[in-house]
Symmetry: C2
Subunit: 115 residues, 2 copies
């Protein structure tokens, strides 16, 4: 937990969010600026500023982020229609909040290229 | 390994590809239809048709896909500039090959929304 980090504070409940899932490792909530009818952010409670900062010790946690994205898609009923998961890392990736997060987008056909 | 699966055959070396990384679990190669100056696909050797088919037993493997994406970005020299990782699942996600794969894109600023 980094007290200055927006997403650490959201996961801790210090800043309100539209929660869709929570457990000891992971917190998920709706993006306040949705880019699709369904747009959820899945974040680890552990502060990692980006995928560049994830080490071998974070392998299980990274896997859990993806499995949580899948579970949330099933829970919210859009897994069968399909969805896109996106992680932005650094400037070229378009990262804006420096706490790693998986975007889960659905509810429309996501086009190609992905940005 | 599914003999009819394009990506299983690529990982097995039966179909040529422009390999960038390989180990016992993961194979990575350049997309033949790049959507960015750097566009790599990271796939597990295990056949999983999509993220929807990944179960709890695949958590470590899913984590390894993301850590491999990061390692490849570092190895190829674009980690610091940044990159975007994308997994398409099903129709709304725009999935075209039904063997799970992580797109790793860099070499330009990836815009928003991601498709």
């Amino acid at each position: 937990m980094t007290s200055q980090c927006l997403f650490c504070r959201i996961a801790a409940g210090d800043i309100p969010s539209n929660k869709v899932y929570s457990d000891d490792d992971v917190y998920a909530f709706r993006d306040i600026n949705p880019a699709a009818p369904q747009h959820i952010l899945v974040i680890p409670r552990k502060h990692l500023s980006s995928l560049n900062d994830a080490g071998p010790e974070d392998q299980a946690l990274m896997g859990k982020l993806l499995l949580s994205a899948r579970s949330i898609a099933q829970e919210l009923g859009f897994a069968d229609d399909g969805f896109r998961t996106v992680i932005n890392t650094g400037e070229h990736g378009g990262q804006t909040v420096f706490h790693i997060h998986v975007h889960v987008l659905s509810g429309r056909h996501l086009s190609w290229p992905p940005g």
